[in-house]
């Protein structure tokens, strides 16, 4: 079972019995504390190099778990830019109140997956010059 299926299964189980949230919270806290300790121990021994930290941050599962526990080393703009790689869409702006402006459509889900602090995704629409002229002409 991949981690995605695991996560979906947790969602389904909690939807069926919401009282399970209390247990999930305790278990999540325990694992979060474990992750934090793990990073501390590595850092104390100089093993948490920039390269190692970036590899952890860039991994979808590990990075996602670090985000769950507020331990992700990258700021939101870095996380978004990284997630947008290969999509042909660029991050134009991330405002202080969480509005994320993208250069084009089709990458909104990539943003919300890595940046829970984003409150709204706006896609800049560019009207081709030809359309402008035809509109003026009509």
């Amino acid at each position: 079972m991949t981690w995605r299926k695991s996560a979906a299964r947790i969602d389904a189980l909690l939807a069926a019995s919401p009282e399970g949230e209390a247990v999930v919270r305790e278990v999540a806290d325990l694992y979060g504390a474990g992750l934090e300790r793990l990073l501390d121990l590595l850092h104390a021994r100089g093993a948490l190099t920039d390269e190692a930290l970036d590899a952890l941050a860039a991994d979808e599962l590990v990075g996602g778990l670090l985000l769950v526990h507020g331990l992700h080393p990258w700021d939101a703009a870095t996380r978004i830019s990284h997630a947008l790689q290969g999509s042909g869409v660029r991050l134009i702006e991330l405002t202080a109140d969480g509005v994320c402006r993208l250069s084009g459509p089709g990458a909104e889900d990539r943003v919300t997956a890595v940046a829970p602090e984003v409150t709204r995704v706006e896609v800049q629409t560019v009207i081709p010059v030809s359309a402008l002229f035809s509109r003026l002409a009509s």
Binding site: A7, A8, D11, V24, R25, L65, G70, P116, V121
Partner: protein
């Protein structure tokens, strides 16, 4: 907006915590944040107790599994244990609590550390010497009251649940061999509280 498969975990882990409701360990009634405890004499565990359940176990001489922890605090003048006592106890940290364990029918000594409380040998002549110097120790009740002492500093007769609380606080702060700075700050703060009682 769809997000990460881990959104649910994130929501739960980041959600504000509802205040924990504490319940009586005997009858499950909800108890106030300030409540009494009883000691399970078999497991040495503390149980939160409502007033009614607490009162069932206040008799020291009853042959019951549980015993109510009293609330008194008593100060002593100067260090209660002398340097020789500490040396004999072989406690690596300058902090210990001593109480009479009625199941073992002897005095026991514990000191805090990262794993919780560790027992240290306490021989009878050593205890008799200490008790002879401080007559008030004769009133210390078995299992539920303890002598809490700092090396070269102060000592108090305290409820046993206070010792458990101190051990609990220190367990998470303890670093290295002697506890480290944070643990020592917590010890000072705790003794300040005890002194004010």
């Amino acid at each position: 907006m769809t997000g990460s498969p881990l959104d649910t975990l994130r929501r739960i882990a980041r959600a504000p915590r509802p205040p924990a409701v504490e319940r009586c360990g005997m009858c499950a009634t909800q108890v106030a944040p300030e409540h009494s405890h009883v000691v399970d004499l078999q497991s040495r565990q503390l149980l939160c107790a409502c007033r009614a359940c607490y009162l069932l176990f206040t008799d020291d001489h009853a042959h019951l599994r549980y015993r109510a922890v009293p609330g008194r605090y008593l100060g002593f003048d100067g260090p209660v244990l002398e340097e020789r006592d500490w040396d004999e106890l072989q406690i690596p940290v300058g902090l210990a609590f001593l109480f009479h364990n009625s199941s073992l029918e002897r005095m026991v000594a514990f000191y805090p550390g990262p794993a919780g409380a560790t027992e240290s040998e306490l021989d009878l002549p050593a205890w008799e010497r200490i008790a002879a110097r401080h007559p008030a120790l004769a009133t210390m009740r078995p299992d539920v009251e303890a002598l809490l002492v700092r090396r070269g500093k102060d000592g108090y007769l305290v409820p046993i649940d206070a010792c458990y609380e101190l051990v609990g606080r220190l367990r998470t702060l303890w670093r290295g061999f002697d506890g480290g700075q944070e643990a020592h700050a917590a010890i000072s703060a705790f003794f300040d509280e005890v002194r004010s009682r």
